[in-house]
């Protein structure tokens, strides 16, 4: 980030700020893509307000580590190094997207970066990290696998089944619950009688913590500690408290929560917090941060242009990838009908 000519761009906090800012700007552009009518559908879940969770945990991961995410996973993927243009293209359902336009926002993945997949099933991606943990143990790879999910996923039984297995087998895995206080319209205290979510993980024998997501450095610290333990065979659970700044998906205006709460909630802004800290500790100044932000704007604007300019996938690609390429593709219904009516 050559633009930050002043001050200490080697600072870790600066790097975290930059990444968080990129995430936020990317998400804003996703919103614009939707408004432009260029997204594939409206099931777009923005992670604005949750940037410290993505950046805090991911910065504590190593190369070779793997992860799965929930449906609100853009930020996490970016924090692990995703190319925002290919992400945006995927979100637009285009051929050059990460998943060739088949997956979209909720089913994005990249094996090269260890992204075992986002999931549109609440809790659906969690047990895969237990499997990745088994692989790591079996192959002695030293890799940790991290499962990201929302507070809503604590309603899903598979989380407990997975945590129990991980603890029993001492696997190198970390369960990360991004507690943005809401599962769609349901505030966490209307989804459970005990909102201290980490207590459940502790009861299954995991190392378990809750951290406030306001300060990314706190998230980094907690993540490092837990991941270090996980790598040694002590699986862990980390709940990160934050606030979902906007609606559940693009069309939701959150009529079920009142404005005072929203205003208050949005004060837990990890991007702003990091910015203020950078300035307060004299690592960066306002101007250089503005310059950085402007640069990010340009970068992210380009992703939208890119996505819009790309092609839809070819219609014939529909029958590809149901099975391995070595296998015959399923017979299209139309072909079948022709064949049968032609008595062939």
């Amino acid at each position: 980030m050559a633009i930050a000519t002043k001050k200490n761009t080697n600072s870790e906090l600066y790097a975290h700020y930059a990444l968080m800012r990129r995430i936020r700007t990317f998400e804003e552009r996703v919103g614009e893509l939707f408004v432009l009518g260029q997204s594939a559908g409206s099931m777009l879940h923005l992670s604005i307000g949750e940037e410290s969770a993505a950046v805090g945990v991911c910065s504590a991961m190593n190369e070779g580590d793997s992860f799965t995410t929930h449906h609100r996973g853009h930020g996490i993927f970016l924090a692990r190094g995703a190319d925002p243009s290919r992400m945006m293209a995927e979100i637009a359902g285009k051929e050059t997207g990460y998943c060739s336009g088949k997956g979209g926002s909720m089913h994005i993945a990249d094996m090269g970066l260890g992204h075992l997949g986002a999931n549109a099933i609440v809790g659906g991606g969690i047990p895969a990290i237990v499997g990745a943990g088994l692989s790591a143990r079996q192959k002695n790879s030293g890799a940790v696998s991290v499962g990201f999910f929302g507070d809503g996923a604590t309603g899903q039984g598979i989380l407990y089944e997975s945590m129990n297995m991980a603890a029993l087998w001492g696997l190198p895995v970390l369960f990360v619950c991004i507690n943005n206080q809401y599962g769609m319209g349901t505030r966490i205290d209307r989804a459970t009688a005990n909102t201290k979510l980490h207590e459940r993980a502790a009861a299954f024998g995991l190392a378990a913590l809750t951290v406030d997501g306001l300060d990314v450095e706190d998230v980094v610290d907690a993540s490092r500690r837990l991941i270090e333990g996980a790598r040694k065979g002590k699986p862990a659970f980390l709940a990160i408290d934050c606030y979902r700044f906007y609606g559940h998906a693009r069309k939701d205006k959150s009529p079920y929560r009142d404005e005072a709460e929203e205003v208050q909630g949005r004060q837990k802004d990890p991007v702003l917090k990091a910015r203020e800290k950078l300035i307060a500790t004299d690592i960066m100044n306002e101007d250089s941060l503005n310059a950085l932000d402007a640069k990010i704007d340009v970068e992210m604007d380009a992703t939208v242009d890119f996505a819009i300019g790309e092609k839809q996938p070819a219609l014939t690609s529909m029958f590809k990838d149901v099975y391995d390429p070595s296998q015959p593709e399923p017979e299209p219904v139309r072909t079948r009908i022709n064949r049968i009516l032609a008595r062939q």
Partner: protein, 323 residues
């Protein structure tokens, strides 16, 4: 009155809740949020949070809770936000709800409704766009209703809420904003009966849910070139009303079944096999299955649209049959 499919469903819930105080509704976001597709909007204001129950995101336990409630005197209507989530509930649905009456020697039934919605049309991807009615149809003990029209949305939902056995009630996400005429006093047909929506001597199209509208649109188009189709809306897949269908197929000698359910071992397979068996001596052509492709649904709108039957495919197929 003219209202939307969504509104008709909502009205059915309201009317039946007023008629029967044992009815409760439970599911994710059915209360404050008003339902992901708005079907239960404001019901919580009218009936309170004891009868309109917001649940955690726990599909298996939602269905299991409904089972227990139904066994102890309530009439639960559980909502599964997307039929795609049925996988999490299949044990409670197929091993519990469907079998309790039988396993316990007829001592008790499970009079519950599982309301959900399915189908393509929102670029919602592989896990939010499926048509999974075949899993249900293949499970003895479960009734299965799939209304295609506004009036059926209302009447079939009320009828479902009066059934002695568990009913899976699958709406189509592409129909919620469709408008239509509703006569609250008169149902299209009794529960479990198919309806002949259009008559024509050249071929019979057997279908249900959103594909009814595609079939009707296709039929109008076909009529322009002199092909007249009978179009039958099955309405419920269990009970499956074959009596209504048979005379039409026997007369026309040609049948097409149209469904979004994936072709292999799905609804089209049952309908195809059954028509082939029961009308064997009358068929001029094989029964043609116009069904969902044997693939997952893509988020790409182009691929999504072509993963299930389109009116064009129905037209093309009918033309081939009558060529």
């Amino acid at each position: 009155m003219e209202i939307t499919y969504r509104e008709a469903l909502r009205l059915a819930l309201i009317d039946e809740m007023n008629a029967n105080e044992d009815v409760i509704i439970l599911g994710e976001e059915v209360g404050r949020y008003g339902g992901a597709y708005g079907v239960t909007k404001d019901l919580i204001k009218q009936f309170g949070s004891d009868r309109i129950i917001d649940t955690p995101i726990s599909e298996a336990a939602i269905v299991g809770t409904a089972v227990g409630a139904a066994m102890t005197g309530l009439r639960p209507v559980a909502e599964l936000m997307y039929v795609d989530f049925i996988g999490m509930t299949m044990d409670q649905l197929a091993n519990q709800a469907a079998k309790i009456r039988y396993m316990f020697g007829g001592q008790i039934g499970v009079p519950m409704v599982l309301r959900t919605q399915g189908g393509t049309g929102r670029s919602a991807g592989a896990q939010h766009s499926q048509s999974l009615e075949a899993y249900v149809m293949h499970t003895p003990g479960l009734r299965l209703a799939m209304p295609a029209t506004v009036t059926d949305a209302y009447h079939m939902l009320r009828q479902a809420m009066q059934q002695p056995d568990p009913v899976v009630f699958i709406e189509h996400k592409g129909l919620y904003t469709m408008k239509g005429e509703l006569d609250v006093d008169k149902a299209t047909a009794p529960w479990g009966k198919a309806k002949v929506v259009r008559e024509g001597d050249d071929l019979v199209i057997v279908t249900y849910s959103r594909q009814l509208h595609y079939a009707l649109a296709a039929s109008e188009e076909l009529a322009k070139s002199g092909i007249e189709a009978t179009v039958i809306d099955l309405r419920t897949l269990n009970p499956l009303d074959f009596e209504t269908i048979l005379p039409y197929v026997k007369r026309a000698g040609r049948a097409m079944v149209v469904t979004e359910s994936v072709l292999t071992a799905g609804v089209a397979a049952e309908l195809g096999a059954r028509i082939s068996e029961e009308c064997f001596d009358y068929l001029e052509d094989p029964v043609v299955r116009v069904a969902g492709e044997d693939i997952p649904i893509s988020v790409s709108p182009l691929l999504e649209k072509n993963s299930v039957p389109t009116p064009e495919l129905i037209i093309e197929t009918a033309r081939m049959m009558l060529a």
